[in-house]
């Protein structure tokens, strides 16, 4: 049979097409929906759809007392519940002009830094998992995180949503003998973090997948208000614990790790180094722990004077801010949650254009977003 030769027959017909990544997808770290416009395997455009986890927390806050809202903050960034609790109670205390005891401040620092490590462990583990290091680093990281979760379990009886911070202090004092346990965990984690460095950091496959992938330049990061390890990986030395110290962070010696290129590998390295620095802070805080009563000695219903306050804290994922407006009643008139992942995710389409679908997974994993605080 004779072949029909037409004009188009000498090239393969191709066109751009859309792929829906999510909302249910193992690599999107939650219910995130990316509408990817692809040319073959290359990403041409990306539209981010969020809101699948929207629980209208800001509206709920207007109908709860200040104390009643604390458990809701656990559900924002559920990998770092303690840090969310902390950010919220600090904002309310600023509104009330409430000073907490020195011991409560030290306990808060220890707990917040432990939770930062637990959160970074999940970030590093899932990032390695996204890059194809199937199961091993993730399971190792979860094994280490378990040690911290067990400490929190002993401290307040919960394993994920702790609800431990209180307006004016913390829920309970540290249990007897927990400082020795924390010291052991620090010692254990130190050696483990070194293990991960040798397992992952200069692994050839890991380097090829993450080095020079998803470069976030400094000015783009600032323009999108990216904060936390993602910003520091781009070379900006900005950490609220140093720049605007809250609690007793100014009493401790620690360094702020920064990256050079702002690629996925740098973001991973910054998180690894931050875990070591957090261990340093916890060690110093345990050594300098003052005596006293850290529990809250104020009532449960607060009626702050009418006014507005904005307080921000350094969360594992960036700057978490609470803008609280009070009208003198026991409930906030308006409560805005400035979530770090919200801005960190907004920058994603700029990073993935021109790269392959597999790199989208890598970059999203390196940005380490949590949908709970994006959708609120």
């Amino acid at each position: 049979m004779e072949l029909m030769i037409t004009e188009n027959n000498n090239s393969i017909h191709s066109e751009e097409f859309y792929v829906n990544m999510g909302p249910q997808h193992p690599s999107t770290h939650g219910v995130l929906y990316l509408e990817l416009k692809l040319d073959g395997e290359v990403v041409v455009d990306c539209i981010v759809h969020i809101g699948y986890l929207h629980r209208s927390m800001e509206k709920i806050a207007e109908n709860r007392t200040y104390t009643q809202f604390i458990p809701f903050t656990d559900r924002l960034d559920y990998l770092a519940s303690m840090n969310n609790n902390l950010g919220y109670v600090l904002a309310v205390e600023k509104l009330l002009n409430l000073e907490v005891t020195e011991r409560a401040k030290y306990i808060r620092v220890i707990i917040a830094e432990l939770n930062r490590i637990a959160s970074h462990l999940v970030a590093v583990g899932t990032f390695a998992q996204d890059l194809g290091a199937f199961a091993t680093p993730l399971f190792y990281c979860f094994r280490e995180r378990e040690k911290i979760v067990e400490l929190f379990d002993e401290l307040c009886g919960n394993r994920l949503t702790y609800d431990y911070m209180r307006i004016g202090g913390v829920q309970f004092d540290l249990p007897q003998g927990i400082d020795e346990k924390i010291r052991q965990v620090i010692k254990y984690l130190r050696s483990r973090i070194n293990d991960y460095e040798s397992l992952l950091t200069y692994n050839t496959i890991f380097l090829i997948r993450s080095k020079d992938i998803g470069i976030l330049p400094k000015d783009l990061a600032l323009n999108y208000s990216v904060t936390g390890p993602n910003l520091r990986a781009s070379g900006v030395k900005y950490d609220l614990r140093k720049d605007e110290p809250y609690l007793v962070y100014d009493k401790f010696q620690f360094d702020i790790p920064v990256g050079e290129n702002g690629d996925a590998w740098d973001r991973y390295r910054v998180r690894m180094e931050e875990m070591r620095q957090s261990l340093r802070i916890i060690e110093q805080a345990i050594a300098g722990m003052p005596e006293g009563d850290p529990t809250a000695k104020v009532g449960r219903i607060h009626r702050p004077a009418a006014g507005e306050v904005y307080a921000k804290t350094e969360n594992p994922r960036g700057v978490l801010g609470f803008y609280i407006v009070s009208d003198g009643s026991p409930c906030p008139y308006r409560l805005k949650i400035r979530a770090p992942s919200f801005s960190n995710l907004a920058v994603l389409p700029n990073l993935i254009k021109g790269l392959r679908v597999a790199d989208v997974v890598c970059i999203l994993g390196s940005l380490d977003v949590v949908m709970g605080e994006i959708d609120r």
């Binding site: 783009l220 600032l222 219903i301 507005e308 009643s329 409930c331 805005k336 801005s343 907004a346």
Partner: protein, 150 residues
């Protein structure tokens, strides 16, 4: 630079800026917002980070709150813009700071404030085909339980 000094600088430059007594924030007239924003970003104050935008429904007006931060100079400034409830339109800042894009979409979604010249003004947290603005004080829904009285 302290917030008071910045406010003096802004007052000297633009005149019509006042200070809100309770919060010490600078209140910028709606028409001046783009000029003020451009001044904040590109002149000596060097605000390279639009940290947060939010809104407050005061019933008699809607207040927009812009929080700026300068990584270079390590200072922060809060400005406010008052909007009358019958004219909820304002210029978008997404052309100056890309972070404004999603913040403004969120305010449009939750408060129904329209941002002019916004690159992509769609709802962000709630379904695209919904027509209510839930954070407005007059929001009502059969399933919505009002604030208990304490």
């Amino acid at each position: 630079m302290q917030e008071n000094e910045m406010l003096q600088l802004l007052k000297g430059r633009f005149g019509q800026i006042t200070q809100e007594e309770a919060t010490k924030a600078a209140v910028v007239p709606k028409a001046l917002l783009l000029d003020v924003a451009d001044f904040l970003k590109n002149q000596e104050l060097a605000f390279d980070d639009l940290h947060c935008i939010t809104a407050i429904d005061r019933v008699e007006r809607i207040e927009l709150v812009y929080i700026f931060y300068s990584i270079e100079k390590r200072h922060t400034l809060t400005i406010k813009v008052y909007l009358a409830p019958d004219d909820l339109k304002i210029e978008s800042l997404a052309g100056l700071w890309r972070s404004a894009d999603w913040f403004e979409r969120e305010i449009y979604d939750l408060f129904g404030v329209y941002f002019l010249n916004h690159p992509d003004l769609r709802r962000i947290l709630n379904p695209y085909d919904w027509d209510a603005h839930p954070l407005r004080k007059d929001f009502s829904d059969p399933d919505f339980i009002k604030k208990p009285q304490y």
